[in-house]
């Protein structure tokens, strides 16, 4: 098992390659996911504003009971 972690004496080079790749790919994934969540929230907020405005803009209701 220690052989596996020592990587024939090149542990620093091999594990930092794999570690950096893992970190970089995970960070990009997290940044993209968080950006998407934020954009969804902002969009939902704007769309509720849009809905609350629409009746005011049209002013005259089409049908009156």
């Amino acid at each position: 098992m220690t052989d596996f972690f020592e990587m024939g004496g090149y542990a620093g080079y091999v594990w930092s390659s794999y570690g950096l790749a893992t970190i970089a790919l995970l960070v990009l994934l997290m940044v993209s996911l968080r950006g998407l969540t934020k954009s969804r929230r902002d969009l939902a907020h704007l769309e509720t504003l849009l809905k609350s405005r629409r009746p005011r803009r049209k002013k005259a209701p089409v049908r009156q009971p």
Partner: protein, 258 residues
């Protein structure tokens, strides 16, 4: 409304593809990493540093693959003004840049023990560094204009001009004298490396491609949302809510200084 027709088709397709992409990515990366780190033998000359190859080479392939994809999308956005092509190009750039940076860093980590140097200014390494700068330049350029359409025009032009660098990266090891080894997988006469090393290489390459598909879909969705947000803000919705406010362009004020 026809502008939204295609993105809606994309979103439907993306939702269908997503679970498959996640499954394939997790599976191929798990098996690929196991083969790369445990099963595959150490190289008789390079020892265990050869395991860096299983990250380095697929990352290089992805760097080039993403660039070609980005340039094709750039061309489509220039020629047909297809909004989704522009969005896909913008979404691809940071992914390609990440893979290219990983290729350069892992290459350095491989070069130090094997060549005795972190870096040489030879054709392969330099052209790969230029590839990274092309990505960074593209990302800076598309966001440098207030009008997103002007940004994507400039960015697409840069992406297309930069395509010339792709064959230079690929053939640099044949055209110029270099420390870097020549191609051993994608070459005439088939791969020259052993299947025990070829399998982890291909599995991780497939895993990276799956990862690209996942992040591409996320970023395209993100970009579509942001365009919708911008459109709503320009139409005046949300101007009264703090934080989302965009100052309205006033031509009289802009010309007042003259």
């Amino acid at each position: 409304m026809h502008r939204f027709a295609k993105p809606s088709v994309f979103l439907k397709l993306a939702s269908a593809v997503m679970p498959w992409a996640i499954g394939i990515t997790v599976l191929t990366l798990a098996v690929g990493l196991y083969l790369a780190l445990v099963v595959s033998p150490a190289d008789y000359q390079q020892g265990d540093t050869v395991r860096i190859m299983y990250i380095h080479v697929p990352a290089a392939w992805m760097g080039l693959f993403c660039y070609v994809g980005m340039a094709i999308c750039g061309a489509m956005s220039l020629i047909w003004k297809h909004p989704l092509a522009d969005i896909a190009a913008r979404a691809t750039a940071p992914i390609g840049a990440t893979f290219t940076a990983l290729c350069l860093i892992t290459g350095s980590l491989w070069g130090e023990p094997m060549w005795g140097t972190w870096w040489v200014w030879d054709a392969r390494l330099t052209s790969m560094l230029i590839l990274l700068f092309l990505y960074l330049g593209y990302m800076a350029l598309v966001n440098a204009f207030d009008d997103p359409e002007r940004g994507s025009k400039a960015g697409s032009a840069l992406a297309l001009v930069g395509v010339i660098n792709v064959p230079i990266v690929k053939f640099s090891v044949d055209w110029w004298n270099t420390l870097h080894q020549p191609a051993s997988v994608a070459r005439m006469g088939g791969p020259s490396i052993d299947p025990s090393m070829l399998w982890p290489l291909f599995l991780i390459a497939v895993g990276f491609t799956g990862y690209y598909v996942i992040v591409l879909i996320l970023r395209v969705r993100l970009e579509l949302n942001e365009r919708r947000i911008r459109a709503l803000q320009l139409s005046g919705i949300g101007e009264d809510s703090p934080g989302n406010a965009q100052p309205a362009y006033n031509p009289e004020q802009a010309g007042a200084g003259k």
